[in-house]
Amino acid sequence: MILHPALILVLGALVLPWLPHRGARQAASLALPLAALWAVWQVPDGSAWQLHFLDYTLTPLAGDKLTRLFATIFALMAAAGALFALRQESRVEVPAALFYAGSAMGVAFAGDLITVFIFWELMAIASTLVIWSAGSRASYSASMRYLSIHLLGGVVLMAGIAGHVAATGSLAFTHMTPDSGASWLILAGFLVNAGAPPLSAWLPDAYPEASWSGTVFLSAFTTKTAVYVLLRGFPGTELLIWVGMFMIFYGIVYALLENDMRRILAYSIVNQVGFMVVGIGIGTEMALNGAAAHAFAHIIYKALLLMSAGSVLYRTGRRKCTDLGGLFQSMPVTAFCGIIGALAISSFPWTSGFVSKSMISQAAGDEHLQYVWLGLAAASAGVFLHAGIKFPWFVFFQKDSGLRPADPPASMQIPMILFSALCIGLGLFPAPLYALLPFEVNYAPYSGAHVVTQLQLLLFSGLAFFVMLGFLKRTLTISLDLDWFYRMFAPRLVNLLTPLLTGVIAGLERTAASVAQRAGKTLHRHHGPQGALARTWPTGSMAFWTVVMLLAWLALYYLP
């Protein structure tokens, strides 16, 4: 019997909060992801578990290269996140985060659509708990908005799955083409979790409201699980190129306008997932390898960036760029690790982003997709602009805020240093990562031309940043997004309509009451104690009326 790696985390997370000692809980939170990582590598290719449910055969555990790649990084991420969150006071957050990681892994190992759906919903609930456990009013409302969007996405997905199963009779989760209503619904359900338009706003709305450690977990699982299911379900769907392209530029522009350091990084998740979605849309082996490798690399450097931001938040309690600055002087380790993450997200040569993202551009070039290639090149420069320089510059440099917080404790520094080492290590030695990719890799990232052109692109983007710094001055603002419709418009509409509706309802009630009253009076008049129909009549009048009726009948009988 093969252990299900996802169940190790999911069941372990349920036991975790009830362990008696804090030390035991901490040890278990580190041991569970490592045990799951071990189990991931015990799963053979093909379906390992089968279950009969009603008339269907479910495959809750099936392995292949793509599954293993995502499950491995999910387990690594859960372990590093648990280490970073070792000092987290909340007893809910880490168990919820491990449950969340386990559910993401459950989607990765699912061989059928029902299992995908079950873990998909568990992921939504567990991640809501992670946000909610920050304990503030803002995090509570954000978590409820987040949950509503994800439950909506879940309903769309379920409708699609039901339609797909009814039409094809197959539960298997394999390559689909969006050619029927049902498969469109499945695609839409997947895209909600990827942060695709029009519902991208849930991500920058909710993630930054989690605690200093919660956001680190959140950045990894939901969107990357969506990338995984798109990779398996819809590779080569051309629409995804344009969806991804929109996400890329949406992320850049909104991050440029943003003042909250963690929201900048949240927008840049949408941006980075956009690159992966473009790769899935291009759909060649090179592009799909690129998307998968980029998801792997992204989880590491985005977690690193959010650990760096989380450390700043942990020490200062502040998250707005306008309140921060100059922190490199007293937080050198945090600043250094943040810069490594920023270089990796920007695909700087000798970092992990360089060896993964460039495969997607290469695929666009190989397919002669000129505009896509130009868009990706502009966006690569834009990533350096909005995340690569903007985040470290406004948090650690710019003006001196006068704050002199110390670097965080060792339990928070160690995962940052480990992930920094991975960002550089994968950049220098990409072969182990390439070996994990779903298809054989025929790509050498380090050619003189590639390094030189990428350096030009990035460094001149840096020049643009510093030349136009006046345009990027931080203000105490947020930027409106389509979430305005459910955060402002809908509540206002309800407020506006409430007096109107109460008026209409009161009027209807009054009319109904008076009609009923009048009916009651009529009844009373005829059937009441004094009513004509309730009177007691003498027997004589009864006999009289009977005689009248009989005479009338007689008369009618003899009529011709």
Partner: protein
């Protein structure tokens, strides 16, 4: 002089001038290096001299200006959604 001893060495005006000079030298070097390496453009225009340099710069300038313009329309005070923020 007192100020420069109080400030971190990285923040002194002298260092900043030096950093700018080094930065510009590196920028120039990356463009000149194009002459040394063998470019293999996909489309043709990406083989023009210094294409990635000026394309990167102009793309970023365009994005910053676009964001600035869009900001005029969609920026709101960060208390817009109430004390929720």
């Amino acid at each position: 002089m007192r100020e420069s001893t109080e400030k971190h060495w990285l923040l002194r005006p002298k260092t900043i001038t030096l950093l700018w000079r080094v930065f510009i030298a590196i920028l120039a070097a990356t463009v000149i290096a194009e002459r040394v390496v063998h470019l293999h453009p996909h489309f043709g225009f990406d083989g023009w001299f210094g294409f990635h340099a000026w394309y990167g710069f102009l793309a970023c300038a365009a994005m910053i200006i676009f964001a600035k313009g869009l900001g005029l329309l969609i920026k709101r005070p960060d208390t817009y959604y109430g004390d929720d923020q």
